[in-house]
């Protein structure tokens, strides 16, 4: 079985479990608070993932160290490349 099929199988199990609890497909008559927590779960997971991504981006922005020499070197290389391309006729 390929990885894709494994993933699809797992995801459809989760979706089936969620639908079962949210829409009471088997008439299990679960307590109301549990149903109220279950049905927004896909959206909640999406929002949590968004928050996690935002926090990761923010953390890496805060901890990424400046590299002065590498920046200067890069600017030099950009200048050289521009000169080189201008000589070969590419308009910038």
């Amino acid at each position: 079985m390929t990885k894709l099929l494994q993933w699809l199988f797992g995801v459809s199990l989760l979706v089936a479990g969620w639908a079962l609890v949210s829409f009471d497909l088997l008439d299990l008559k679960l307590p109301q608070p549990y149903r109220e927590v279950a049905w927004p779960m896909p959206l909640y997971l999406l929002v949590s993932f968004g928050c996690y991504s935002l926090a990761t981006v923010g953390y890496r922005v805060a901890t990424f160290n400046d590299c002065e020499e590498a920046a200067k070197e890069l600017q030099e290389q950009i200048k050289e490349a521009r000169e080189d391309l201008r000589k070969r006729g590419l308009k910038m």
């Binding site: 109220e36 927590v37 959206l43 929002v47 926090a55 923010g58 953390y59 805060a62 160290n65 002065e68």
Partner: protein, 85 residues
């Protein structure tokens, strides 16, 4: 000095704090509140439950609009004038 600039650190940390606050508020709203009696004082700090679905929906629409507008502006700037025959 090899650490990130003060502005970078401030922006980064405020992003982290903002996303933590958002996650906490949303988690309490979706997961904790259904188990709390409806006359508890905690409910005053939270909007009605329908908004826990509507507000992320609106945020997603706004995000898509911003991405679309950004793409449109970039493509407009890079349009090539048509050749005149």
């Amino acid at each position: 000095m090899h650490t990130a600039t003060r502005v970078d650190q401030a922006v980064g940390m405020s992003l982290v704090v903002f996303s933590l606050l958002l996650f906490t508020y949303y988690s309490v709203w979706v997961i904790v509140l259904p188990f709390v009696e409806s006359d508890h004082v905690l409910h005053i700090y939270f909007l009605p439950r329908e908004y826990s679905v509507i507000l992320p929906g609106i945020a997603a629409v706004i995000l898509l609009l911003c991405i679309g507008a950004f793409t449109a502006v970039i493509m407009w700037k890079h349009r090539k004038p048509k050749k005149v025959d």
